[in-house]
């Protein structure tokens, strides 16, 4: 793999084809658990792990699995990986496991996982597929982190609350109180807040893309016809 290929994969996953903002796949857990940064990032990372490992596991066997049964086999592999992660979280991050609840096993049904396997891993090498799964997952995690951050600041006035659930009691000091004595804007924490903030994030992304395109166009015309630019 060339450096350019790797760069393309990551550019695709993090920005161009971002699952949360562009493909809009797997939004159900995204909206449900993004009420705080810790919850959001934890589920994002769990999804990333599943995506990276399942893509890496499926790419090398893609030529040995008959086409007719490929979906059951893929789902089986994803389900195994998800369950392993579920066991590990249950054992070592119990309170986080309780908070994320049903959304960990539901990663199996998250369409983005199967979508990347069908679209990418079943046509590419194991290394490229693993990187693609990771990039896509990290793109999702990044959106979840911003979404969770905005909702947490508006809803509770804090950041990173509940970090002790993931990193142990000693991490409690990492919690940041952004706005002291905050009344709490419950709408941000409740489901409608997730939709509103996601909508605003998508709008921001579209605005940035449009602006970049306009700039590129302006530059292009400027370099082609210098006079026009002056006029």
């Amino acid at each position: 793999m060339t450096a350019q290929e790797i760069k393309d994969i990551f550019y695709n996953g993090l920005w161009k084809q971002n699952t949360g903002l562009v493909q809009l796949l797997g939004l159900c857990p995204l909206l449900a658990v993004s009420s705080s940064v810790v919850n959001a990032v934890s589920l994002g990372l769990a999804t990333t792990l599943v995506m990276a490992f399942s893509s890496a596991a499926i790419a090398p066997i893609r030529n040995y699995v008959p086409n007719e049964i490929r979906i059951p086999v893929f789902i089986l592999i994803i389900a195994v990986l998800v369950t392993v992660i579920q066991y590990e979280m249950n054992a070592y991050m119990y309170s986080l496991y309780v908070v994320l609840g049903i959304f960990i096993p539901l990663i199996v049904t998250n369409c983005i996982v199967l979508a990347r396997i069908e679209a990418f891993a079943s046509k590419n090498t194991a290394t490229a597929s693993a990187l693609d799964g990771m990039a896509m997952g990290l793109g999702l995690t990044a959106v979840l982190m911003v979404l969770g951050g905005i909702r947490e600041i508006f809803g509770h006035g804090t950041l990173l609350s509940g970090i002790d659930m993931a990193l142990g009691e000693s991490a409690k000091s990492l919690v940041i109180t952004v706005i002291p004595d905050y009344h709490g804007f419950l709408l941000a924490i409740l489901p409608p807040g997730a939709f509103i903030v996601l909508g605003l994030l998508i709008a921001t992304r579209n605005w940035l893309t449009l602006r970049a395109e306009r700039k590129a166009k302006a530059q292009q015309t400027a370099s082609q016809t210098p006079q026009a630019a002056i006029a």
């Binding site: 040995y64 699995v65 008959p66 007719e68 049964i69 059951p72 086999v73 089986l76 592999i77 389900a79 195994v80 369950t83 392993v84 066991y87 590990e88 249950n90 054992a91 070592y92 119990y94 309170s95 309780v98 709490g184 419950l186 924490i189 409740l190």
Partner: protein
């Protein structure tokens, strides 16, 4: 033609079987590797909640394993057998933990956990789960408001039946203007739990705990598979 079809089917079936077996092996080994830690986590988590309301210097036994099966009772608001816990210090019973239910919250039942000292004083109360309106009735959660700590140290001797009400109704317990149904329900349920303790004091303190460590160990595993 038929032969190739059969062959392809067999091939697919074997393929699927292979992955199913592989998956089962991976899952079983993870399960075996994490089983003990999970059971332990479940227990620590339970203990964490109890430790909030039972002072650490008042017991030296494993509370989570010292359980009492309590039959349904109107005073506990329970319709099924609930579990109580008993804390002992040097073999002497010191605190009993009950799990009463307040049936009349604004939006359904409120599940509580109440620790009562052997002298009938409340050692602490926590809300386990509820469906009260967020931002309105949820100040009964200790994470949101210290309201629930008002019960610490209260008993039937230092509070009359009249006192066991919210201030708005002439009692001794605070409530927030605009949200009185929830605290009313909680005060009532805690009051009843204290009465339950007074009524069944001897049984709660002296009855031999029915469960052995082996049984509760298995319970922990059962919990996880739910």
């Amino acid at each position: 033609m038929r032969r190739t079809l059969a062959k392809a089917s067999l091939h697919s079936a074997l393929n699927l079987l292979f992955f199913a077996v592989l998956g089962t092996i991976v899952l079983s080994s993870t399960y075996l590797l994490t089983r003990d830690t999970i059971a332990q986590s479940v227990e620590t988590e339970k203990l964490k909640l109890i430790a909030q309301i039972v002072p650490q210097d008042s017991y030296d036994n494993n509370i989570v394993q010292s359980t009492l099966d309590l039959p349904p009772d109107e005073l506990l608001g329970t319709e099924e057998t609930s579990i109580g816990y008993r804390a002992t210090l040097k073999g002497e019973p010191s605190v009993v933990v009950l799990q009463p239910v307040a049936p009349d919250g604004y939006s359904g039942k409120i599940f509580l956990i109440v620790a009562i000292r052997s002298n009938g004083e409340v050692s602490g109360v926590r809300v386990v789960s509820h469906h009260e309106t967020p931002g309105l009735g949820d100040y009964i959660e200790v994470a949101k408001n210290p309201w629930i700590k008002q019960f610490d140290g209260q008993s039937l001797t230092n509070h009359t039946a009249q006192d066991w009400q919210v201030k708005k109704d002439g009692g001794k317990f605070d409530s927030m203007a605009g949200a009185t149904i929830t605290p009313r329900a909680v005060v009532k349920a805690v009051h009843k739990a204290v009465q339950y303790f007074a009524k069944h004091r001897d049984q709660l303190l002296t009855q031999a705990p029915p469960s052995s460590p082996d049984k509760s160990g298995r319970e922990g595993v059962k919990e996880k598979t739910k």
